[in-house]
């Protein structure tokens, strides 16, 4: 198999050049999608027959939860690429994705708590989903802390990659354990996001919001990745020419 395209994709300079062209599009599309979805969801969707208007927080909560989990999967993929093909760009992606993942994780937890107050009458419930999300936050924090503690770039890269893979093996186990624990301790909980049938007027803005959040994540990641590339490649000729 011809791997040139793969290596080209892994070239920081090539990525820097091409991502500069993507960036404006990503910015415009993600912002438009999010604005449309939120205006639609917050102002025009019908209110819920059980929860009234408080359910509308799902237009932020659900996309944030989606992102919090899939960013970790993306990090694990980048970790595998880092360890197998040793592509530097994959490690840079791994590094810049972690803080974004943490942000979505916190956003998901905070919006969950805000939603919990009117629905459950309390800010926090030891519900399986919330607990799993909290543990996911710990996994993210661990990766960021490990990178901060190791001073050589390459050792930090490989250590974080190993930790991400260990984490991704553990996520299903943790999820399963927490679900088991939760059924033992709480019986049935309110399953707010698992409505058997969601009204299409609610579903469409939600889907739009999810796509918008993904694009927003891409945009933030590309922005951060470009900064990371410049900082790591600062000694190369192309970066020196670029900044001068």
């Amino acid at each position: 198999m011809n791997w040139t395209f793969f290596h080209k994709l892994g070239s920081p300079k090539w990525f820097y050049d091409i991502s500069g062209k993507w960036l404006p599009w990503l910015q415009v599309i993600s912002l438009v999608l999010i604005v449309v979805a939120l205006v639609w969801g917050l102002a025009f969707s019908p209110s819920d027959y059980l929860q009234g208007n408080s359910y509308r927080i799902i237009f932020i909560h659900v996309p944030a939860s989606f992102l919090a989990q899939s960013v970790y999967l993306m990090m694990a993929t980048a970790a595998a690429v880092t360890l197998i093909w040793k592509i530097k760009l994959a490690d840079m992606a791994l590094k810049v994705m972690a803080p974004i993942g943490v942000s979505f994780c916190i956003l998901s937890l905070v919006t969950g708590a805000i939603w919990g107050q009117p629905t459950w009458g309390t800010w926090w419930v030891w519900d399986a989903r919330l607990t799993s999300m909290l543990i996911l936050l710990f996994l993210y924090i661990g990766i960021i802390a490990l990178r901060g503690a190791i001073h050589t770039t390459e050792a930090a890269a490989k250590a974080c990659a190993i930790l991400s893979l260990v984490g991704v093996v553990n996520i299903p186990i943790i999820k399963f354990s927490v679900d088991w624990w939760n059924t033992l301790h709480q019986g049935a909980t309110l399953k707010l996001t698992e409505k058997p049938s969601m009204a299409p007027e609610m579903l469409w803005p939600l889907l739009l919001a999810i796509v918008g959040f993904y694009l927003f994540f891409m945009m933030v990641m590309v922005l951060r990745l470009r900064i990371e590339i410049i900082s790591r490649e600062r000694k190369t000729r192309w970066v020196k020419e670029l900044v001068s």
Binding site: A145, L146, I150, A155, V166, G167, F176, V178
Partner: protein, 232 residues
């Protein structure tokens, strides 16, 4: 063929030599073994003082207290698992060995378990009495500790390997290891509490065994990989 057999035989004797070495070391500086045990005892003392010496309250909490204490005690002892070897250069000798590194690492983790988790398990009946654990729950507590503490050593050793070069890496090690410890904690305390309520707990025990087998198969690979990466 015979060459391969001989090699694996020597690999086994290298593992025995490592276990022997670490046990002699533990014997000559017993603080490494005794301190986590004392820690567990003190943690168990804090709970009645901090919550209530009430028999009913304690018997409900006791499984959780003992397990959380044991988990933290194991974490305390893990910090030095590879760091001592790194400090005196023995880690280089481990990495230079012609034997498979995951095997050697497994031997090291085993001797760590013998000097930490196993000793904590032996201490558990005393704590169970102190905390009024119902006597029916003694045997599930011992079984979960015997099955669960090796998993704590295995999973924690990954963190210990990743932080071997980090100065004062104890807190970081805790951050990395605790999420991996949650499933063990959930099923172990679940089993003990189920037995208190006269519910079957075989399922919990089987899941703990699954974690142990998974840990024995996968953790040495991650530990060996981490040691090679960090010791560049």
């Amino acid at each position: 063929m015979s060459n391969v057999d001989q090699q694996s035989m020597h690999g086994f004797s290298a593992c025995l030599a490592l276990i022997r070495r670490d046990l002699i070391l533990a014997f000559r500086s017993p603080g490494q073994t005794i301190n986590p045990m004392a820690f567990l005892l003190m943690v168990a003392t804090l709970f009645p003082l901090g919550i209530a010496p009430d028999r009913e309250v304690l018997s409900e909490l006791s499984a959780g207290i003992i397990w959380i204490g044991a988990l933290l005690a194991v974490l305390l002892s893990l910090d030095s698992l590879f760091k001592n070897d790194q400090d005196d250069g023995a880690l280089d000798q481990l990495l230079m060995s012609p034997h498979p590194l995951p095997l050697l690492v497994l031997a090291k983790v085993f001797s760590h378990w013998l000097t930490s988790g196993f000793c904590l398990t032996l201490m558990a009946p005393l704590l169970a009495i102190m905390l009024h654990l119902p006597s029916d729950a003694f045997s599930p507590l011992m079984i979960t500790l015997l099955l669960g503490t090796p998993v704590l050593s295995l999973a924690g050793a990954i963190g210990a390997a990743l932080t071997v070069r980090v100065q004062r890496g104890g807190v970081l090690l805790t951050l990395l290891s605790l999420p991996l410890y949650l499933p063990v904690l959930i099923f172990a305390t679940g089993a003990v509490n189920a037995s208190i309520q006269n519910l079957p707990y075989t399922g919990h025990i089987l899941w703990l065994s699954v974690f142990l087998i998974l840990g024995i198969c996968l953790a040495p690979l991650a530990i060996a990989g981490a040691l090679r990466v960090i010791n560049e």
